[in-house]
Amino acid sequence: MRYSIVLATLLASTAPASADDWAPPITNKLVQKECGSCHMAFQPAFLPARSWEHMMNTLSDHFGEDASLPEAQVAEIRAYLTNNAGDVKWRGIARKYMRWVAADGAPQKITENPAFLREHNFLDRVWNDPKVVTKSNCLACHAQANSGNYDDD
């Protein structure tokens, strides 16, 4: 009995993030810098390529912000996000999120995906915590979010 507890503890502490709570981390420097300058740079696995395509075509009104960039940078970021999109790579957390995306859907908000909602069904006082500010602030609770690990809930 005791051994199994020790073993379980050991496994839990050394095991990597479970596959479906892991998003392949961003490896492109420009994407890390520009997509992470106002908010956390969200991993491309959370949205399908159609979503990233639309987002990169509408940067002048990016959720109300002017996030315009020089065209060469837009092209590099668009290529990275679409090549690594959830419906293209289909790895880790993408399997959970892509299930809810319509065949021709191009959702823009990760926080509206049912896969997100069912795991973030919190009381208002959690969302109203001053360190949270907004639902898209993954890092408020997921300290390893930048490296794609969302397994700490």
Binding site: C38, H39, E65, D66, K131, V132, V133, N137, A140
Partner: protein, 138 residues
């Protein structure tokens, strides 16, 4: 041969530090040129005006960011936090964050976004130069 060079370096290094970062100086010089083009009476940028710009509550922008201090706090030497996204922001004051205002593209991009958000309009070259001058002294 080596000793005089070392000696010269010891003398010159603090002088260079006082003269500021060449990239930042070039950015300020560019805004000065634009400010002069807009107003022939332009004399120099002012840290005092920059601080006023930093602390003023503007009515025209996003209600979540009425002033620069909404994200950067009242002390630019402190880290801040994006009032819309919660993302931490490195200090703006050059004394604690010497890489600030050294990339012309990044500086212009940030002014474009933040002035729209805080003031509800683009900043003038005078305002940009004043702001950088204030932060350079902080």
């Amino acid at each position: 041969m080596l000793r005089p060079i070392l000696f010269a370096a010891v003398i010159v290094a603090p002088t260079l530090a006082m003269a500021g970062n060449p990239d930042r100086n070039a950015i300020i010089a560019d805004y000065a040129e634009q400010a002069r083009a807009a107003d022939a009476g332009f004399a120099a940028f002012s840290a005092t005006r920059g601080e006023t710009l930093f602390r003023t509550k503007w009515p025209g922008g996003d209600p979540r960011t009425p002033s620069c201090t909404a994200c950067h706090t009242g002390n630019p030497r402190n880290p801040g936090r994006n009032a819309k996204t919660g993302r931490p922001i490195d200090p703006v004051a050059v004394s604690v964050n010497p890489s600030r205002f050294t990339d012309a593209g990044d500086v212009e991009k940030q002014f474009t976004r933040d002035c729209k958000s805080v003031l509800g309009r683009p900043c003038t070259p005078l305002e940009k130069g004043d702001y950088i001058t204030f932060m350079t002294g902080q």
